[in-house]
């Protein structure tokens, strides 16, 4: 007894609070606020997140190029979904205008990276570390300009106004040929070039493998940034505005500034996602930025889980992987056509499916895939006991 006590005493000065290891099998025993406030606050979370990242990286070698392209697209959409979740999930400002900000990002990126003096507007700066922040910042600027509406309007009214943005954008992008190439024609998208190395051509690995790894790394960066934001004073202020705005103001949260910030950050994510997404296919068409795209993002957030970063990622993967399945419908069901001029066609089926999924999730699991995961986790925590 005396021995252990004296060693314990001797250890105290050597181990500063927060560095000491946690005893095995006590995942919730925290001995410092650093441990308590960590993003991955249990050993299980650390191990599983590490394994998940390793798995995602190893997929680049295992999967066929076609599947890698789909997944790379899904990762980019996940960045966009995280962005929508910041403004709609955390800050509670319903936005149907996400497609508009994605478009701003896509065209800014394309214009910055496009060849100078070509058929379309271009500045000839193909480096990704130039056009990606540019795409984000220009979209964020538009977000900040739109945000003052959110300080005047709430809920449904805000949704309708942001919906107007999509229509406005659609019109401008269709008419502004020099930037967008016009409807049905389109233009070349941003070129993902990293330190002189064009990632959209086979180099170290195949084009798809390079793009896949790039998008995965960027998704991790954006996701960690969003998680950090969410646990900071800023994320807390967003949630406060969502839950009770008057009380938020009375405890010292300036409502206007934080709503503007939420729109700005969300649009930054959307802009980056827009720039990146079309660099995979290498082509942007102004018709892509319709209400359907906004609805897709909302579906990702609602199906994945409102106000969770991992939920937004799960939702984006779910919706993106749904697409290859619906696109193969015409082979299985001859009534469904792949031609957009025929009714019913695949795209209509997709839209209906998104709507249906949103309804089903809202009715049966409003917390989305994240909620299902929480239920599974708590079930296995107490298994085989039922409580």
């Amino acid at each position: 007894m005396t021995d252990t006590r004296s060693t314990a005493k001797a250890e105290v000065p050597d181990t500063p609070a927060g560095r000491s290891r946690r005893p095995r099998g006590r995942p919730l025993l925290y001995t410092s606020y650093t441990q308590d406030m960590a993003l991955l606050d249990t050993r299980a979370k650390k191990i599983w997140t590490g394994l998940l990242v390793l798995l995602a990286l190893s997929l680049s070698v295992v999967l066929a190029d076609r599947s890698l392209e789909v997944l790379a697209g899904a990762y980019v959409l996940a960045i966009g979904a995280i962005g929508l979740n910041i403004v709609t999930g955390y800050a509670g400002q319903v936005s149907l205008g996400h497609a508009f900000f994605v478009a701003i990002g896509a065209y800014t990126a394309a214009a910055v990276s496009g060849p100078r003096g070509g058929e379309h507007l271009g500045l000839g700066l193909a480096e990704i570390w130039i056009w990606l922040p540019a795409a984000g910042l220009v979209a964020a600027l538009f977000g900040v300009l739109v945000a003052p509406l959110a300080t005047r309007l709430r809920g449904l009214y805000l949704a309708v106004v942001t919906l107007g943005l999509v229509f406005l954008g659609e019109h401008v992008f269709k008419e502004w040929d020099h930037l967008t190439g016009g409807p049905g024609v389109g233009r070349e998208a941003a070129v993902p070039q990293l330190f002189g190395l064009p990632l959209d051509q086979d180099g170290f690995a195949t084009k798809e493998q390079q793009l896949y790894v790039l998008m995965l790394v960027l998704l991790i960066v954006f996701a960690v940034a969003a998680r950090n934001l969410a646990r900071s004073r800023i994320g807390r202020a967003f949630s406060a505005i969502r839950d009770r705005d008057i009380a938020a103001a009375v405890i010292g949260v300036p409502l206007t500034r934080y709503k503007v910030l939420a729109f700005g950050i969300s649009s930054f994510y959307a802009g980056c996602a827009g720039g990146l997404f079309y660099s995979i296919s290498g082509y942007v068409e102004p018709g892509s930025f319709s209400l359907l795209l906004s609805v897709q993002f909302i579906a990702m957030v609602l199906i994945g889980g409102v106000a969770t970063v991992s939920g937004a990622i799960a939702g984006a993967l779910f919706i993106s992987l749904l697409q290859p399945i619906t696109r193969s419908l015409p082979e299985l069901l001859p009534i469904v056509s792949a031609d957009t001029t025929v009714t019913p066609n695949v795209f209509q089926v997709e839209t209906v499916l998104y709507g249906l999924l949103i309804i089903l999730f809202l009715v049966f699991e409003p917390r989305g895939l994240f909620g299902i995961w929480i239920r599974v986790r708590t079930y296995w925590k107490s298994w085989p006991f039922s409580y």
């Binding site: 606020y33 950090n228 646990r231 406060a240 839950d243 938020a248 405890i251 010292g252 300036p254």
Partner: protein, 254 residues
Amino acid sequence: MAVLTVEDVGLSFAGVRAIDGVSFEVGPTELFAVIGPNGAGKTSIFNVLSGVYRPQRGKVVFLETELLGRRPDEIAAMGLARTFQNVELFHNLTVLDNLMLGRHCHFGYGTLSAIAWFGRARRQELEARARIEDIIDFLELAAWRRHPVRLLPYGIQKRVELGRALAMEPRLLLLDEPVAGMNLEETEDMARFVLDIRDELGIPIVLVDHDMGLVMDLADRVLVLDFGRQVALGTPAEVQRDPKVIEAYLGGTA
């Protein structure tokens, strides 16, 4: 020197005079109570003080600064904290996050620092967390630290709301019916907290409540309102003897 000076404040909503020429002062460690029948304008006074309502006339000076015309968040940053009659917590957040939100004004880091969670942001968050833990101890909230607030019993929610106001490190605390709807035991707990806040933390308090026993036992001075007008102002003993107060509460012969 008074912490808060209210001078001849008048607030009306399209002809309804919610507050009509009310004046009072709150001293540096005073426990000041405002009472009156329903609709007397008690909560309206709080809303004026915290910047939610803008009165048409009058002056409100808090720590030698004029309050009228300022936004609620500016007033909060000056050190005026309040609780609400109906619990106004952030229902989806945990007790910890609600209390951390109380410290919003005390953080000094920006968006980029928050995103990187490095240096300033990290240091300040850890420091804030340690401060919050003191409040959790003080209000005996340890058992509910990680619970989402909406799942907590009403009495505990009231206590969390008091904690959120305390986390602001206020220089004046406004409590709007802190014991409304509480049972005897919860009321006594709350009374103990209110006294401790004044005596141990030295924070002056303005208290609104309908529990006359509580108000008369705790308050140093009492302001009585009726239909937005000032009926009486004095120590509990003086106020209780005042015929105009009895008339306002029980109905007069006139």
